[in-house]
Symmetry: none
Subunit: 207 residues, 4 copies
DNA sequence: AATGAATGAGTCTTCATTCAT
DNA sequence: AATGAATGAAGACTCATTCAT
């Protein structure tokens, strides 16, 4: 009984802690999207999270760690949404690739917040070892999977393709469209982005 | 004689002013590339330019104006390099497009400094009206020209292409490769970037 | 019990905030008196208050707001001292006017700090909308009350007086004596100031 | 001949110098009136004078000296205007005193610029030895003269007056009205100021 | 666990002054 | 004589972090 109590209390405590962490992370994500990665402040985040300024120190080493965590979470969610979309697309590799395109420019993977955070990740990786590492690993895995799909899809085609290069182009195009959409949403609408990706894929894979 | 003297003196004075402005702009560009757009400080820039901190106020309204000017200069130089490359490529539209690709990933258009500044421009446009305006105008003009080239190039092909969409994809791919190269130079080498662009162009334009 | 605790804590917290605000305001007042309104710095004030420079931002929007608050407090205290003196003087309007004179050149209404701050108020109102507004309202109310007293006092006299004009002269004379005392204390002693005011009042009100 | 030339040249040079000094002094006066004593900058003054920033060093030790010179000039002009008015008023001491009142609130003695500068003088004397000295001497002489006039005027009256005290009150009232007019021109019009002074004088001197 | 008071380093900006031309 | 380029000190303000409660 007392054990149960203790464990229950500890669970509830850590649960609260986890909730607070999550609150702060989400607040950080929203703030990045709202004011830009470079203009996010601890005060901004804590205000958005509805907690006091000092609380950040209880759950994170500092502002940088919180921001890194926020980026990590966004990228994880993006990855999950992508994987899920691919899984739901059945066995056909071409269909899977098209599902990736769809998922890349549709919620929940594609949202203003996620794109803003991703843009922050991509554009700051060069000066931040942590972000750089995260960035490289994410694309490496993604490109590996895409290359595999392209390879399979290309077998149906008579054309000769370089799967790695196509994967690089494909992923870069998606990232470019994200960043372009953020900077100038009028020129890069979601539909236009999808069509651009589809066009590319069709051109590369058609016989 | 005295007129000549006066004019000579006034010229040399304004020349000094122009030189200092240029020094500061170049220092700003180098600083952006060195420490990142968000971490550039007045001190950093002035130290890089070899002048005192207060001098920035003599030639610019403030830090923001200097940074904007730096971005403007880089984009102008990039645009010039691009136009020059296209001009030198002769009349063939396809050749011109390939020249654009080459120029986009070769000095002097393509340098670490320029890519860093462009990345700053693209990733901050969403939160800065000035940068947003600059960004939109640059790509609008670029895409207009590329679309025209694509249209002409496509006439030789039997395929049906949407010049505007191709121009969007083309420009986005280049920008994505720039940003990707900055974030992870190992994955996106210059050659790989060029080949990715060429691949795309060939795939789209081939009959 | 827990409510009492909570309320006590919240009280003590807000009390600290109020104390700090008051500390800073008083330090500001002392600094104005010590170095002059134009030479007061944030550093000066915070040093005088025994706190760090950054603290000013916690309790005030900035230096200007703190200075305005300091002026406001001094004028309020001056007004209170004046009203209290008038109240204590009984019903006789002439006695009340003489009480005003006494209070105007005796502590706690009349101190070096208060006079310095008032001088700052009067001499800067022309270029500061906030100070101008404060200044006008203070004198308007004061003159209104004095005019009323003069009117009543004049009924005992056979002379004809213009209460508003007397009130203006009276208040201006007091202010002039304050400023004159600050600039040259040897020429305008407290006693001389009082006698000057009494002289004026007697001359105007005597039959 | 050559001597004449040299002397003429030196004269014309020093005349230019004198003109420049005067330009700067007048510009300083205008700036004090325009932006306030505390907000005057070297740049402001030199711009108003139509000369370059560095020129101030050629004619004055620094900003402080120029400002002091500006104050000195204004007070001199004020004194001259006052003396002239008294002289023009004939021999009657009462008439002279009324002439002083008139001159105190009429151009050229009374202008916005002069009042602004005088207010700066009075309100800063406490923290500036130079201004304090100037201030004291000016009023000392003025009060001495006024006391003399009051003494003579009082001989016509049956009342007993303290000339020094009246002179103090008189001068303080004028100063107070100047400062009050600057701070709140609506409450202290020129006419009201004159009438206040006349009222006081009449009340004190009437039998 | 949570607050917010407090700090102090860091940033931009202003400005009087100096000096080479 | 005059300019304006250049400096560097000093100012106000922001902000991440620490810590007592």
């Amino acid at each position: 009984m007392s054990q149960k109590h203790a464990s229950r209390r500890s669970t509830s405590i850590s649960r609260i802690a986890e909730i607070r962490r999550q609150d702060l992370i989400e607040a950080a994500i929203n703030c990045i999207a709202k004011v830009g990665y470079g203009d996010v402040t601890v005060q901004t985040i804590c205000h958005a999270a509805g907690v006091s300024r000092g609380l950040i120190g209880h759950y994170f080493k500092g502002k940088d760690e919180l921001l890194l965590e926020a980026v990590r979470q966004v990228t994880t969610e993006l990855g999950n949404a992508t994987k899920l979309a691919a899984q739901d697309a059945g066995d056909n590799p071409t269909a899977k690739l098209h599902a990736l395109i769809d998922a890349s420019f549709s919620p929940p993977g594609f949202t203003a917040e996620k794109v803003a955070v991703w843009t922050a990740l991509a554009s700051n990786a060069h000066w931040s070892p942590e972000l750089a590492l995260l960035y490289k690993e994410l694309w490496r895995d993604y490109r590996y999977a895409v290359a595999h799909l392209v390879e399979r899809a290309a077998q149906e085609s008579t054309r000769e393709v370089n799967p790695e290069r196509v994967a690089l182009t494909f992923s870069t195009l998606i990232e470019g469209l994200w960043i372009g959409w953020l900077a100038d949403p009028e020129s890069v609408t979601r539909e236009a982005a999808k069509e651009a990706c589809r066009d590319y894929l069709d051109a590369v894979l058609r016989s």
